[in-house]
Amino acid sequence: MFVAWRDLRFAKGRFALMGTVIVLITLLVGLLSGLTAGLGRQNTSAITGLPADRIAFQDSGGGLDVSYSDSTVTEEQWRRWARTPGVRWAEPLGITTTRATAGDRSAAVSAFGVRAGSRLAPHGGQLDERSVVLSGTAADDLGVRPGGTLTLAGQRLTVAAVEGDASFSHTPVVWTSLDVWARTAPHPGTGPGTGPGPAAGTGPGEGTGTGTGTGPGEGTETGPGEGTETGTSDGLGDGTGSGSGDGTDFGTGTGPAAARTATVIALNTGPGVDTAAADRAAGTRTLAKDDSLSAIGSYTSENGSLQLMRGFLFAISALVVGAFFTVWTIQRSGDVAVLKALGASTAVLLKDALGQAVVLLAGGTLIGTGLAAALGALVSGTAVPFLLTPATVLLPAAVTILLGAAGAALSVRRVTSVDPLTALGSAR
């Protein structure tokens, strides 16, 4: 590095110019990384925050990709999963995007329906027919606190608690009971139907009950598992019916028949669980929780685009650094020839040249990353979804240095081909 340091000091203008380019590229990469992570969190944090390790979707068959927006699972599928050996627990989870109103404020929210007392939701024990739990952002957007009220798809509900910062598909999460969710979500099935409800049912255990309904899908339904349930099965949700059984079904015992469906099943599995066999038996397709993020349509397209931009920036960074050091190496090939003629080994010269590149890259990247972090800290907490973590700051910096060093290495290898003989009789 003896010559390299002195070159850096001597050719200040050239290196300052190149350093500025590296600073700007790193700043752009840093900002884009923070923005990508922030947007990703807005899309997925409700899913990544679930205490589950796998998510079971409806298997549409035909090799179609699963999707959180298209999936509908039934109570029977949930019960099958719950009985599967190796599964610690299985919880139905309903997801829909809707609008919530509180006073004169209104906000788009994602309603996450879970069974009362479910471990999926914060303060799940406080969820019932009239109570919801809000994420912090939802509470801020709607201007409500615990004890306040809001209207969700026409249902007047009380805020039982405000907890966490879960969001899904860029909307804050409102945790509801499955029944509230069922009345909020558009259900599979078509056309209006009427049911006589409430239909009578028997209590937990072995009881039976019957009910009738009219409209599409009308008929008697027998529930899975331990109890026989009755009610309308119009698949629309605007009839009412009562279900009974073992008291652990999707709903709370009253509510629409559509509450017997959810969007996905959240699973917590132990070692040795045969998910493929369980999927075949239940008619589901199970993904690891992190893999299931690709089933969020907006996340896949948005994240893909941003990652592509980031990848291009890394490639551009490597190319720019490589181009600079190619020109620089050609310019100083006379010096290299003299040093070789004087007895400098190629290894010493390569070390010197590559060290110079790494110093320039590290310096530029450090400044660029610092600026990105400072800007990120400024915009964090505002409407800009910027996530400032070591992963979004240090990782892109490390990648920029590594790829830049690779580009520089390809350039400075020209040092090996400089002929020391050219130093004899040369005039520089």
């Binding site: 010559v3 002195r6 040093l339 003629a341 007895g343 080994s345 004899l424 009789g425 040369s426 005039a427």
Partner: protein, 226 residues
Amino acid sequence: MSLNLTDVTLTYPDGDARLTALDRVTLDVPGGTLTAVVGPSGSGKSSLLAVAATLITADSGTVTVDGVDTTGMGRGELTALRRRKIGIVFQQPNLLPSLTAAEQLQVMAVIDGRSPGRARARALDLLDAVGLADLADRRPHQLSGGQRQRVNIARALMNDPTVLLVDEPTSALDHERGAAVVDLIARLTRRRATATVLVTHDTTHLTAVDQVAEVRDGVLRRPARR
């Protein structure tokens, strides 16, 4: 300490044929003596210097540096030999623009794996020996042509070589400064007992040399002692 070239032949490709640059050249340069190799342009002087500097491998013959036969040596061995045993004074100073006069010498220690800090005292001594003690911290563009050439000479001596090869050191200097440079090389040769070869086409500065060898069309005439 000596340089010996024995029956050295060197050819270059010239279309389909080969051009003979050196034709069975034999030259012995004992330590502490200055040998001038003279001849017109294209006679083979530079080729002789390049072979002696181990920058080109001869087609045949042997080159011995301080008793070490360079025949069959690999590139790495030749580089190490050049670094430790051979000093080269280039036709043009070929100084590195980012380094001061002292650093031009210190870099010789660096490429030999030694500390530049410890080498500074020796660099300053050598600059003093060539009359540049006060200009140690100047960069090349702050020195005159003659001063740059003196730095060039001092750099060649930095690793205490046994063989000193000097290529047309006066070509860019006026007569007075050219004579001063040749005198300096002669003094350093005797003081440091190096086997010095001075390649030049200018025969007006040869009063200080010990022997003169003339090369024409690649053939070296028997050196004449002076």
